[in-house]
Structures are given as C-alpha cells and as structure tokens.
Amino acid sequence: MTRTIRLSLDINERRYEIDVEPRVTLLDALRDHAGLSGTKKGCDQGQCGACTCHIDGQRVLSCLTLAAQAEGRKITTIEGIAAANGDLHPVQLAFIEHDAFQCGYCTPGQIMSAVACIREGRTGSDEEIREYMSGNLCRCGAYNSIVAAVREAAEMADA
C-alpha cells in the first residue's frame, strides 16, 4: 500500500493538513505526522490507555482509532488542555502537587482520562475514581496519588 490520503484534522483548535496512508492510526498521525508526541504509545493494542486523547470531548484510545475517522471532529491532546494564556489545567496542577507520576510516560493519557472522568461525573467517591481511571495503566504505581489528584481537581471544578 503506498497510496496516501490528505486529511484535514482539527487538533487543539488548530488545523493540520497531513498526507498519510489510510491505515495510519490517529496515534501515529499525532506523533509522527503532526509533531504532537505528547500522546504516548504504550501498547498499540488498546490495553494500556497511554494514548488516550479526546474526540469531541470524549476520551478515546487513539491507537484504536484511524486518523481518517477523526476528520471533521474536534481532537484534543495533552498539548491542548492548558488555557490559551498558558495557565495549566487544574488536573495538570493537581498531578504535580500530588506527585501523581514518576516516569511520566502514562501521564498524558492519565490526565486526558482524568479530565474526561471529571466531566463524566465519575468522581463521586475514591472507589468510583479508581474504577473510572482503571483504563490507564501506570507501572510506576502512582495510583494513590492519581486518585488524590483527580479528587482534588474534581472538587475545584465543583467549587
């Protein structure tokens, strides 16, 4: 297969015109064609959550999404969640504050899941946070701190 297609992707409220083979995943399109390597590849099989980003505000696994499927929709990645003036998202701040990561490789996916988890209203208890953050593996084992960070960011969102 050598044919490429031109895609016009709306990523973080910016337009990216990229030429890719139709089989290219959104994850690879972001990392290798759009220069947005904040979204991580941990398994390429939909099992680890490191590639989590948002399409139309909903969390998706970009390794199981073809780039072509995302055309015409709003894609948000870790590079796009801080405010326009550069202020960090409350979830990002909470992750630093609670030391909710070590190596940092699962972190963009955790944060994208956390932002969605709060928006979905799945932060009613620590148990609920744990359950709805369980699609994102963290081998360094920052789970306690991730729960604390999501809880705090959710409370700030409520306030």
């Binding site: 680890c48 990002q92 070590q102 081998r139 789970y143 991730i146």
Partner: protein
C-alpha cells in the same frame, strides 16, 4: 472525602535536601513536552521492524525475502545470512576475553520470540506489511519450555552462591519444631509503560543513539564494542525514560540490528519494539523454586535454616535469580545452609527486575517464618522480634544501621496488629474473610563512584550537569536540592541537565545505587564550586570583597556576603564584578589512586568500581516491614488487598515526597506479583502465551487501596555521603509474602506458588 491541603509547588522551603519539593521536571511531563527516545525527529528516517522465532529451539534453514523486498517502501531485509560485522561486547565488569563475532539475528534459535529477521522500510506500516511476507523455514530441535518442564532436569549448582555456617542439617534434625515447604514464583515481566526501542544515526564514524537508558555510559561502551568504535564516538541520549525497573540497563539485540541497519543504509533508523515483542526481547524475572526448612525450639528460637533454590536461565548464559539472597540476613540463626542452582531452559536470558534475588528470596523465608509461627502457635510479629538479628551472621559484621525492629513495631502500631485474632478464618466482614499478614524485606546498599559538574553562569543560574538518568526516581529533583543546599542558592535558580553519555560519568540507575552515588558527587562538586567562588571573591581585582579583610564569605539565598556589615552581592553582581562568564567545577568520588583518564573511563562504563554491602567495616542494607490486609470472597475465592501499612528504613530521605511515591510503586508491583502476574508459557513450543498487557495482568488503579508508608530510618553516613540508603528496589521486597500470609490467615489455605489466583483457593 478529605481535601488534600494545597501546597505551593516549588516553595524554597522544600529546596534543601530532605524537603518535599515537587518533581523538578514535572511540568514537562504533565504538558507532554518531555521528549522520549522515539520522539526525536530525524531527517530521512527509516523504520525497522523485527520478526521473531516461532519455535523454542532449532536452526533457521531458509528465509524467503523476495516478496518482502518487492513490497512498497521496503529498503532492506536483514536475515541470519547477513554478517553485520559485530564483535561480542565485554561483560558488566569490563572483561572481554576474546574477539568473538556477535550475531544479533542468529541462525541458531535459542528461544521462542528471538529476533531472526528485520525489515526496514520508509514507514513503519510498510515495514510491518512486508514483514508478513517473509517466510522462515526451521529445522526444529527439542526445546525445554520452562522450569517445570519434565525435560528441564535439576540444572547446575552455582558454588559461588553456596552459603553455610554452623551445622544446619544437624541442628535442624535436633530441633523440636520443624517446618519444610517449597515455594514457587513464575516468570514475571517489567512492563515499563514505554516500550523499548531506539533511533540510531551515524555521521561518519560518530554514532548517536536515542534510546531509553538506565546507564548511558555503560550502554555507550557496549555499543562501541559491538561496532569496534572508540567509546567517545558513541553518544546515548536519554533525558527521559518511560520506566525501566531493570530492563533498560544494557543494549539488546534489536539495538545492534537498528544501528547496523542505519550504517548499511546511510540513514537514521528507528526501531520500535512492539509490546508483544517486549516480552521476549529481554528477560524479566526468572521463574524460581525454593525449598526452605526451618528448625526452632518450642519457644520459637530459630535453630537452623536450610535453603535449596533453583531458578531458570537461558541455554546460553547462567543468570541466577538468587532465591537465597535475603534468607541469611533477615534473622538471627547460628546454623545456616543455602545452595542455588540454575536450570537452562529455552527462554531469553532472565534479567534484573525490581528487587532481583531479594524479592523471590523474601517470598520464601517470609512465608516460611509465618508457617513456623503457625506451627508454634505464636504470633508472627512476636516470632520475628524474638529472632531479631543483632548483626550480620553471614559476614560476621555489625549492621551500619538496621531499624527493622522499629519498622516492625511502628508498622504494627499503625496497622493495629494487636487487634488480630490469631486463628485462620476467624476474622470476617460479611461474606468476606479477612486476613492479616506480615512480610519483611531488605535490599543491600550498593556503592559506586560518580562524577558531576557544577556551572555558575553570569546570570546567577547554577547548572548541575551529569550523565546520570531519571526514569522517575527523582534524580532531577534531588540533584537540584543537593546543589541548592551546598551552594546556598535557591532551588529555583538551579537547572539540572542529565541523561547523556557525553556528560560526566555516573553509576547505573540500578541496584538502588544511583541516588547515594550521584548526590555524593554533586555535593562534592557544589562545595568545591562554592569554595572557588568565595576564593575568587576574596582575591580577584574588581571584587568588592577583596579589601574587606574577611577570611571567608557566606552564600545564602543566592547572595554572597561578608560577615558583619560588609558588602552583599547577588551572584550575577559578583560574576560581573569578577568579569566571569561562568565558573565550572568538575569533581568525582573515585579514590586518588584511580584518577587517570583510563581509570575514569572504566569506572563510568563498567561495574568494576561497584562495592557490595559488606566490603567495608559494616553490613549495610535497607529494610522494610509490610503489613497487609486482604479480603477473600468466601464463595468465589477472589482476593483483594484492602489496606497496607509499610514501614521502611532507607536511611535519610533526600526528598520524602518522591521516596513515598517510589515505595508505593514497589508495593504496587508487589501486589501484582502476589495476585496477578504470571508469564504463561506454552509447554509445546516455549511461546509466551500472554505477551501483552491485556493478558499479562499488571495492577490497575482499581486493584490498589490506600497504601500507608512510614519512614523509620536514620541517616547512615557509612552508606552514602548524605546518609541515604537505597529506596527503589526494597519497596517490592516482602510484599508478596505479606499478602500470601494474609491469605492464609483469612482462609486457612497456604498458597506457595505465585500468583495467588482464585482457582488455588476454591
């Protein structure tokens, strides 16, 4: 629900050593700006993919590559037919006995999942498609699938691992109370979230490799030896590493393939090892089996320990997983015997995985101690305290520091151990049986030299420069704290530059040896920089301090001042007065007799200057005690860890916030080991059947309760310059036995082979 007390990130009060400074490089990681190895851009990049063997053992008789070569975008296919011109590299100690050729794509298959062929194409997708068109023909040979394969046999005894004192067999025979049992742990995997891989680029005979590395200097040396280059020609770049846990300390066959392909093509090559291929491209923890016999008096005084261990290894290297590593030093015992064997099977050579040796070893002895406690009718906490080791009976040396008694007693207090009802199956919550168990752990203090550079710039900023790495342990942060304290500048004025083999040499980030080593080097360099700055300020023309008559100056809060009412300048003001663009100071912690350039190179690129825990006057180790509560569903046999308290003696903590994260990380990996993790090997062909993160189960967020961690350590200045002992490895050691012991207490059923899954309980 509790609201965490908000703390201001990076407050200078946290900047000194011992402060709870937030992760120094944190902003880069939470914005996606931290760049990992496979994310570096390269012009004319080609992509390599691996094809791995599908048999356990045999010969590759032919590789049909014509269809692959004809596929779109394909640039090259490498097979066992291609001599890549490589030479075997030296071992960890730097020993290189003979100039043997090295074939990273071998004709002789030694395990299932061994890389045999590489396809390189313009894009990864094209390389993957072409790889499916390659046809490999084998002449299979009989293989040994695993440690439990009947063909595996008893293996060979490693005499250097035999340990004995007293007369253990006789003392055991005389003991009125005896237990004996066999414990097993399965093959386990690192599963760092960042899969392995690299980008390699040649410029003439200069080689740059972007690859996650726990030891940039050592890996540069090994690549240089493979490719017959001076080590200076190889640069490993690794400022961020997406987890290692022991797996990223040496270059591997796929790395040789990618670098060789880049040289042949005259283009940069990227090779991303797929997640399934990660399970066989390097070794995880070997499967182990150990039999332990304990003898005691009726009042619970240990009389003898007899340990016989075996671990699997590959058919081409003897790599022991030392199940006798913790056995001799946890308890006071006058009669001891331990022997270890390795059993060759058709697997990739096992590697170091968090707490190597100590971890399965603690599973054995710590389960055995609770079995003895049960046989004696004694509280397992009391049994441990009763047999507390007052010194190291193996080496005969005193402990440097050993706060294990405090770990046991303070852990027990925080856990509420006194409320434990002794009999198995006597505690419950609804239909859940509740069990409590203890597991102790230890890991040796391993010391190594390092080098560091401090630069004071004209603008007053301070750079800490080191080739050491940070894979999440906190190297960036603690080095900023160390330099800040030693120099007297606010931590906000410090920059830390790491992760590059062209920078000053450092110990490996492994064996929990880096933090103690590199803080020592940075502390020494920063003190020297401070002395140099003060010396210049007192002597240079143009310095307002020159004629003050002061003998020395103070630096604090980024200001340099004469005592009393003398002048006071900021660092930029002083640098301007001195007319200096920068002051650069480089120091190392090697002894004076090994300071030649050749000695230094060897020290940074091999393990030849690494010192074990008993090489000085003391026996030095980190210690911990884990207290676990499990809930076991009586109907379904499902086990959940519902809470844990763990108390640690790791000496002085350079940054408790980051240390607590590492401890919890180790504990969580231990929970996975106890309940979830097991490489499942096909007995017919040695294939790893669950080589992915959906089938090889690592803990998820929902598997993990709140984990309380407690520090009971005191500074140990024999262990390191600033008083810390190792932190990263010890956290996992003792977790699995604590959980196994809790499961026994809950159910009355002793599971001696990990993981403890429901079918073993119902």
């Amino acid at each position: 629900m509790t609201i965490m007390e908000p703390r201001k990130h990076g407050s200078s009060a946290d900047g000194a050593v011992g402060g709870r400074l937030s992760r120094f490089e944190g902003r880069l990681k939470i914005t996606g700006e931290a760049v990992y190895a496979l994310e570096y851009p390269a012009e004319r990049l080609a992509h390599a993919v691996l094809i791995q063997s599908t048999i356990a053992a045999g010969l590759v008789t032919s590789v049909a590559i014509d269809d692959a070569l004809a596929a779109p975008g394909v640039l090259m296919v490498l097979t066992p037919e291609d001599d890549l011109g490589l030479t075997v590299s030296a071992d960890w100690q730097g020993n290189r006995p003979e100039e043997k050729p090295y074939y990273p794509l071998p004709r002789q298959v030694e395990f299932n999942g061994q890389s045999i062929v590489a396809v390189i194409a313009e894009s990864r997708e094209q390389a993957e498609e072409a790889a499916r068109l390659v046809r490999i023909t084998y002449a299979p040979q009989e293989g040994v699938a695993s440690l439990e394969d009947p063909k595996a046999g008893e293996g060979k005894r490693l005499d250097q691992l035999s340990v004995a004192w007293g007369d253990a067999e006789a003392a055991l025979a005389r003991s009125p109370v005896r237990i004996e049992a066999t414990y097993r742990t399965p093959r386990e995997y690192h599963c760092a979230m960042e899969p392995h891989g690299l980008t390699a680029a040649w410029e003439g005979d200069q080689l740059t490799i972007w690859e996650p590395s726990q030891w940039a200097h050592g890996m540069a040396r090994m690549y240089a030896e493979w490719f017959s280059l001076p080590v200076e020609n190889v640069r490993i770049v690794s400022p961020f590493i997406g987890g290692g846990f022991g797996s990223k300390g040496q270059p591997l066959a796929y790395g040789a393939v990618a670098v060789a392909a880049a040289r042949k093509l005259g283009r940069p090559v990227r090779l991303a090892v797929t997640r399934p291929q990660n399970f066989t491209s390097y070794g995880g923890r070997a499967a182990t089996r150990q039999t332990i016999a304990l003898g005691a008096t009726e009042d619970g005084i240990l009389q003898a320990i007899v340990h016989r261990g075996a671990s699997e290894t590959s058919v081409y290297a003897d790599v022991p997983e030392q199940t006798g590593a913790a056995t001799p030093i946890l308890y006071k015992v006058e009669n001891f015997s331990s022997e270890s064997r390795v059993v060759p099977v058709n697997t990739v050579s096992p590697g170091a995985l968090r707490g190597p040796g100590k971890n399965p070893s603690a599973f054995g002895i710590e389960c055995a101690m609770e079995e003895l406690a049960h046989a004696l009718g004694m509280d397992p906490l009391e049994l441990r305290l009763k047999n507390y080791a007052d010194r190291d009976y193996q080496s005969g040396k005193p402990w440097s520091t050993r706060m294990l008694r405090e770990a046991l007693t303070q852990g027990a207090e925080a856990f509420g151990w006194a409320r434990r009802s002794a009999a198995p199956r006597s505690m419950r919550r609804g239909n859940k049986l509740i069990g409590w168990g203890i597991g102790c752990g230890t890991f040796p203090v391993i010391r190594a030299p390092s080098e560091a550079m401090i630069r004071i710039l004209a603008n007053g900023r301070v750079q800490v420069v080191s080739g050491s790495i940070d894979m999440g342990q906190g190297t960036y942060t603690i080095l900023a704290q160390t330099a800040s304290e030693a120099l007297g500048v606010p931590v906000e004025e410090v920059d830390v530059i790491l992760g590059d083999s062209s920078l000053p040499g450092a110990a490996i980030a492994g064996g929990s040896m880096l933090a103690g080593s590199i803080t020592g080097a940075v502390h020494k360099a920063a003190q020297a920089a401070r002395d140099e700055l003060i010396g210049l300020a007192l002597s240079e023309a143009g310095s307002p301090f020159r004629d003050t008559g002061a003998n020395t100056l103070a630096i604090a809060g980024g200001r340099i001042s004469a005592r009393e009412d003398g002048p006071s300048l900021t660092l930029p003001q002083l640098m301007a007065a001195l007319g200096r663009d920068e002051i650069e100071v480089r120091r190392n912690t090697l002894t004076d007799d090994v300071q030649s350039a050749e000695d230094q190179k060897k020290a940074w690129t091999t393990m030849s200057r690494v010192q074990g825990p008993t090489m000085g006057d003391y026996s030095m180790h980190s210690w911990c005690a884990h207290f676990a509560e499990v809930e076991v569903d009586e109907d379904f046999g499902t086990v959940r860890v519902s809470r844990m308290v763990s108390a640690f003696d790791c000496g002085r903590l350079y940054n408790p916030k980051l240390v607590e994260s590492q401890w919890r990380g180790g504990i969580i990996m231990g929970i996975g080991q106890a309940l979830l993790e097991e490489g499942v090997i096909d007995p017919r062909n040695g294939r790893t059947m669950n080589a992915n993160l959906g089938d090889y189960l690592v803990p998820t967020n929902a598997d993990i309760p709140d984990l309380q961690v407690i520090s009971v350590g005191v500074p140990d200045l024999n262990a390191s310059a600033l008083g810390g002992k190792g932190v990263g490895e010890v956290g996992i050691v003792g977790v699995a036995p604590a959980i196994a012991n809790a499961v026994f207490h809950a159910t009355g059923k002793r599971v001696r082979d990990l993981p403890i899954t429901l079918e073993k309980l119902i």
